[in-house]
């Protein structure tokens, strides 16, 4: 029997691969998939009182969500903020990756390490440092007042959507830089040279050759920035004020002081579903658009 099992093991890559993968898969199933399935079922329960939950299935929490103006507004605002963050991060990071991929000759790795280094310092601290910069008595305001340019501090800098967008753009930069760089670095330079030789302008070469070829990186960056930032909690909580509040802050409240776990679970489910759907649409549209360009 054991000999027979050993034979199967030796023969099949499938069996070998899955025995190596099993700890990771068990972890993902037990610590992510099962809890998320339970979260989904909780979104169909009803909170009766502080401690008590009615376990009969109902879709009422989803109806509640869309009937509460605040929740819908926050969902839209979260998506809008993430969208802006993704777009700005991509546009600002692209030239940097382009430069390193095509113009830097020596020590490219060192450049990349330096670009991603700030990302490894505590997220909480990075967000907090923007509070120091943007605050009413912060770096920008105190410097401008000292220089005599302003008499009153700029209030829109802090506790606003702008503050959240700036901070998130800084915090998620590494997630745009890495995929963009990897896809630009892979481009065979002879394509670009061929384009030049055929008399295309620099602009045409970029739009018709370089950009479409870097698309996997662009889509990768959209994926790993847009989805997680929709659910960001720390930045809006520290810098958002009422103007920059996002859906996560409400979800946290449902699990905390408001104590409506089913509605919190429904909000989390709606947030995740919406953002995944939008991401699929955005990456498909981006793909189609570039196919037309080329």
């Amino acid at each position: 029997m054991i000999g027979f099992l050993k034979k199967i093991y030796a023969k099949h890559d499938n069996v070998k691969a899955y025995s190596l993968l099993s700890p990771a898969l068990i972890l993902v199933i037990l610590a992510m998939i099962v809890p998320m399935a339970l979260m989904l079922s909780f979104s169909m329960f009803t909170q009766v009182s502080m401690m008590e939950i009615d376990y009969t299935f109902t879709f009422q929490r989803y109806i509640d969500f869309f009937q509460k103006k605040l929740l819908v507004t926050l969902l839209i605002k979260s998506i809008k903020i993430s969208f802006l963050v993704t777009l700005i991060t991509l546009i600002t990071a692209y030239p940097v990756c382009y430069y390193i991929a095509f113009y830097v000759k020596k020590n490219k790795m060192l450049w990349l390490v330096l670009l991603t280094l700030p990302f490894w310092t505590s997220y909480l601290l990075r967000v907090f440092s923007w509070k120091i910069i943007l605050g009413t008595k912060g770096v920008i305001n105190s410097s401008l007042i000292n220089a005599g340019i302003l008499s009153e501090p700029l209030t829109f800098l802090m506790y606003s959507e702008t503050a959240v967008v700036i901070t998130l753009t800084h915090a998620w930069a590494a997630f745009a830089l890495l995929p963009l760089y990897v896809s630009l670095e892979k481009i065979d330079f002879s394509f670009i040279e061929a384009g030049r030789d055929l008399g295309l302008s620099r602009f045409e070469v970029f739009w018709k050759i370089t950009f479409p070829l870097s698309l996997p990186g662009v889509i990768g960056a959209i994926l790993i920035i847009f989805i997680p930032t929709v659910g960001d909690y720390v930045t809006p909580a520290l810098l958002g004020g009422t103007d920059g509040r996002m859906l996560s802050n409400m979800i946290q409240a449902y699990f905390g002081k408001i104590n409506n776990i089913p509605l919190g679970a429904a909000s989390a489910t709606i947030m995740l579903t919406t953002v995944v759907l939008i991401t699929i649409i955005v990456s498909n549209v981006t793909k189609k658009l570039t196919q037309r360009l080329t």
Binding site: Y18, L20, A31, L114, L125, G135, K137, I192, I251
Partner: protein
Amino acid sequence: MNEKNNTLLIYTLLYFGFLYVPVLFLPIFSFNDANYMSFPLAGFTTEHYEEMWSKRNLHKALWASIKVGVVASVISTTIALFAAKAFARYKFRGEKISYGGIMMPFLIPEIILAVAILIIWVNLGFKLGLVPVTIGHTLFCTPFAMLILIARIEGFDFSLEEASRDLGENAWGTFFRVSFPLYLPGIVAALLLSFIISFDEFILAFFLTGSDATLPMYMWGQMRFVQKLPHVLALGAVIIVFTTFIVLLAFWLRNVGQGKAKKDIAMKL
């Protein structure tokens, strides 16, 4: 491209400024002799650093973070090592789905992972504390560790392992005498980076710690009080220096030996 592009170079340097300058304000103001973080600086002091020695809650939180970080990084790196080996070595059915599934915790908003683990943990009747935080961190660190290890393992020629098998070494022997030493720098890099991710992680800890605060939770609690901010700055500055050191070490380790081993193989061929 042989030409130079100074516009792009200047832009790139400005971008570096955007990435680095905000983080540098923490250490600058941590030496400032005032409670407010504004210019002009009031004078130099190390008082905020000395304050840290007397905070017992800080020491407790630091210890909690170290415990969680060590356990989470060891477990996630071990799990990731096996998984990385499977992806680097074999072609198999369901490869893409398995890969996507293991990478998923890296993509899903953390608050959703936190809420889901919170619901199941409380409903199983367990108490919140460092254990669910460690589980969450292990889940979250595994994809990072796996990416680092796949890159390391793919850099090697599997003929080395096959040679060892042909020379009569069994699977375990091959693993410990051939593969493990080759992967070791990658393994240490994965351990260090997982530790840092766990050490800095806030959201999962925020939902799952209950009353056992980790270091980021402790800082979060202190950030609300203006008079306590300077000492958060000092703590933050120490954490930044510590993290940077560990990450640079990990990056260095990740590359160490890789080039040389490849060269050795090339020489033999």
